[in-house]
Amino acid sequence: MAKNLKVNIAGVILNNPIVTASGTFNSGKEYSQFIDLNKLGAITAKGVSHEPWQGNPPPRIAETHGGMLNAVGLQNYGAKAFIQEDLPFMRQYSAKVIVNLCGRTIEDYVAVARDFDGVDIDLFELNISCPNVKAGGMAMGTDPKMAEEVTRAIKNVTKTPLIVKLSPNVTNIVEIAKAAEAGGADGLSLINTLLGMQIDIHRRKPILGNKIGGLSGPAIKPVALRMVYQVAKAVNLPIIGMGGISAAEDAIEFIMAGATAVAVGIANFTNPRVTMEILEGIEAFMDKNDIQDINEIRGVIE
């Protein structure tokens, strides 16, 4: 019997649990040179706002031990350009389309969600956690009241299932997760990047133009895994787990901790074919351990 890799995120069936993380995969075009996008469960597009955002001054990237800081600042051409230029490309593939929404205020978020009225997409991912945008993203993701409010505001204006993406830069991740659930979230994704910094001691200046940025990569994996585990135990929503996933073993850890799907971020930079290698590794693990359905191992950690 063929084994089952299909997973269900808020009523949307993904062919397998492999998703790409927002902002690391653009809309898939570049990586389609190296992998078959049909073999992904879903592609999360880069963060999109109602109006174009220009982003932060360079340098925007700083490598760290086992990780990377970014301070891109959510540069994007706005929802209209995304819908015209990126979405038709994404729609050629069987991978589900997740649109990552950014805003500086609740009104911004509602406006960008409305930009997708009548547009064929599968899921929204609400980025209330981007640590780079000074004006608001940060505050909403770290304050349970704001998180609940913005979630509800979007739920009120759209029928597209809504995943809320959580910021790890909080003392109590479970509290924020519960707030998003109370606001009507259909799923959660976590984690976004952890705030960090790096200094060029010779120039006596931070490396990043924005001084501070978001850390991702293997360096954050234990933190991400712990948060997914805690949240999965506390809420009744499907979870897309992410943070440092770069091999099948990492992905399986997140699934065992309670994630329904897993997203791969900067591992794509280290190895453009990594998503396929992770998928093959999961299949091999299932074969070896006689697992018929990937959902069997979800949340097996007590």
């Binding site: 690391t24 925007r60 990237i61």
Partner: protein, 258 residues
């Protein structure tokens, strides 16, 4: 744009990798997958295969030999990643993604240009000089170094003249390369790669004598393929990705001061 050409990600065999000047290494790769497609000014992302250093390093093509299926990278050891590259033994494989970027605008060159390179910015200019010489336009080449000069012999075989400046006077003119470039009006264009201060000086000079100046830019890179929007320069007021839209730009179109 790089996303319109087919880029390849593959393991290339290291044919040689040795120090050619103090801290400067030359690595030749067996890469028939791309050797015939590489254009001057394009670069490769070199994957280090090291868990603690996740990001590939951008290195320009210094040469490409389609007949032999080889490409050559010349790089300076400036930090951990380039040190790891220097330690890669011949005979082993290294993963690369290439070719990346638009390359120099050579189609529009119809008369002698000035090629101006500074330090480790000189390698990609060799391939440009070769391509120009092949179409019968030998460039004048101006190279500036702190101390050790590199690739001078190679440039001499394809250039009309090669002028050298070193800051310590160990080779050629003592001082900056810009001091050698006096009669810019004799040239159709300036084609340049090097440190930001050199590019800025050339931009100003070219504008003052009203000739075009093309510059190859560097920025810290994440993906190298255009997805992370990390490697930007301001062009007409908006940030554009150097790996996807560059690395070569017309100097008057970009803000070189960040």
């Amino acid at each position: 744009m790089s996303t319109d050409v087919t880029q390849k990600f593959f393991a290339a065999k290291i044919l040689s990798n040795s120090e050619v000047a103090s801290d400067i290494f030359s690595m030749t790769l067996h890469a028939p997958e791309i050797a015939g497609d590489v254009k001057p000014g394009q670069f490769a992302m070199v994957y280090l295969g090291r868990g603690e250093m996740l990001l590939p390093r951008p290195i320009s093509f210094c040469d490409a030999n389609p007949a032999e299926g080889t490409v050559n990278l010349v790089y300076q050891v400036v930090g951990k990643g380039t040190k790891a590259m220097a330690e890669m033994p011949a005979g082993e494989n290294v993963k690369i993604l290439a070719p990346i970027g638009n390359g120099f605008f050579l189609d529009r060159i119809t008369a002698t240009p000035a090629i101006v390179g500074g330090g480790i910015g000189t390698p990609p200019l060799l391939l440009a000089a070769k391509a120009l010489a092949a179409k019968g336009i030998k460039p004048d080449v101006f190279l500036g170094f702190r101390s050790n000069s590199i690739l001078v012999k190679e440039f001499e075989t394809v250039a009309r003249n090669v002028y050298i400046a070193t800051e310590d006077g160990s080779h050629g003119h003592k001082g900056y390369v810009t001091e050698l470039l006096k009669n810019g009006n004799n040239y159709q264009e300036i084609i340049s790669c090097g440190p930001a201060a050199l590019l800025q000086a050339l931009k100003t000079y070219a504008a003052s004598i009203n000739i075009p100046c093309q510059v190859s830019l560097e920025e810290r890179m994440g993906c190298g393929v255009g997805t992370c929007v990390g490697c930007v320069v301001k062009m007409y007021g908006t940030f554009v990705r150097i790996c996807a839209h560059g690395p070569v730009f017309d100097a008057n179109e970009v803000d070189l001061n960040g």
